[in-house]
Symmetry: C2
Subunit: 311 residues, 2 copies
Amino acid sequence: MTLIDPGTALDAARLEFREDLLDAGLLIGSASAGIYGRSATFEAILAGLDRVLTEMAAPLAAIAVRFPPVYPRADFERTDYIASFPDLAGVVSSFEAGDREHRELLAAREEGRAWDGWLTPSDVVLTNAICHPLYATLEGRLPAGGAVYDVLGWGFRHEPSADPMRLQSFRMHEFVYVGDPQGAQEYRDTWLDRAVETLQSLGLPVTAVPANDPFFGRAGRMLVSAQLRENLKIELTVPIYGDLHEGTAIASANCQRDHLTAAFGIRTADGETAHASCLAFGMERTTLALLRVHGLDVGSWPAEVRSRLGL
Amino acid sequence: MTLIDPGTALDAARLEFREDLLDAGLLIGSASAGIYGRSATFEAILAGLDRVLTEMAAPLAAIAVRFPPVYPRADFERTDYIASFPDLAGVVSSFEAGDREHRELLAAREEGRAWDGWLTPSDVVLTNAICHPLYATLEGRLPAGGAVYDVLGWGFRHEPSADPMRLQSFRMHEFVYVGDPQGAQEYRDTWLDRAVETLQSLGLPVTAVPANDPFFGRAGRMLVSAQLRENLKIELTVPIYGDLHEGTAIASANCQRDHLTAAFGIRTADGETAHASCLAFGMERTTLALLRVHGLDVGSWPAEVRSRLGL
């Protein structure tokens, strides 16, 4: 599988950034594209960024909850993720048979044949967006005025790429509002502005642009049109590859309307279907954007940025 | 699937502990056994514990690396995990076909039929032990005197259970030595003692016992015998359910000999196959043990324990 074409200037720039990160020891390569170890320095930047975002969100008095990197398949089935993004999903299977089948599996493996046929689907899938397991816990009526949640965890997208900005497994920090439709719209707009200010204060030249998610296939193209037309999701992008690319999204502010709240039976205090909106930060992408903008030697970053990140 | 039998006193005690944790809001239940959200209080205990462990390990001057919750299937294939623990593994698949196959998948799903047949194995699996992705990065020669690594991340075990001490997805903090055989044995013995002292200093009544890992099937029973006979792995257990159970492991010190170092071609400075040993802490299990021993109301914990954990 050719994941990137070094013959184009953009892909050459991506490969060069990746090599620079590996040479500097900030990322540690693996046998899979988009799967890396993170160095102590990389993690220190990410932790500093996380403190800045948590301070930014303090006025929200959000309820913090943490979820694991897998969540129930039963909840995944309540979303339309396998319809919209089948190619990005990660479904987990395991071995649930006996000694005889296990011997058959091992014999097939010994002969270099596929052995997945002996596995059965498990009751979990990889968490695609860290707010999805949250919604599953909110079934029923919300308090009056709605609620705001602070969720941080690992997301998965099956999209192997040599572009270091496109990982298969990465952390997201999301601040999620659930409540009435007007509250959801206002939340998205207010906190989009705060996110822009916060990221700019770290020296990141962010631009707010309408998002077009990679919905799958022919039917998906209509969903993209609707998303753009209704201006539901705004992405904050940073130019990572100069003029070669329009910029990479590091955060988003997303008005989800009743898309997931209806699926999970989440209602406002007066019994209406709730709306949700969320402010989401890609923790690795934002860390990488900081490294791209300020350079790979953290010691030479602007003093103010280092101070804010506690570096 | 009956995961637990409330008719026995032990299982009744497990269910009661689980209910107490859910009622206190420390864990948030989900549709899958062993998959929970964690509250801010739970995370504060876990973070405090992590600081204590990091301080304990400071003399090691370990190299810190963080890995995601999935790792390359190519590396998984270099281990014998699917031979020893097939039932605990988590193998990831995704959708890699086109529009037509996607329509077939959705039609099957709509009719309530299984749709996993349209998926294909992906290039990653769930990380079973957080030291496994590390070994894959160490191929080649180590520096003279070996090296010590600090790894923290999410592990996965497919073992749905209503016992809150048995999670499917959980964090492990491991301190891993790789070097010569004598160094590996000494490391295990020295740091086992330090781990016992550290956990006891938090009020945990730990006992060191020889481990017998749940190797699969008939062939696995011989591996258990060998593991016990050679005293390779020691577990630190805490009584969670009084006299009803012999105690649950919250940490282990494991002399792995050349088990994984040979598989990954890791050699000492003078070219011999390296040996490895690791000190591993189950972060959720240790947090739950603290809650079990000191009570679910953190405010009423002994002042000294709260102070050490920064609570």
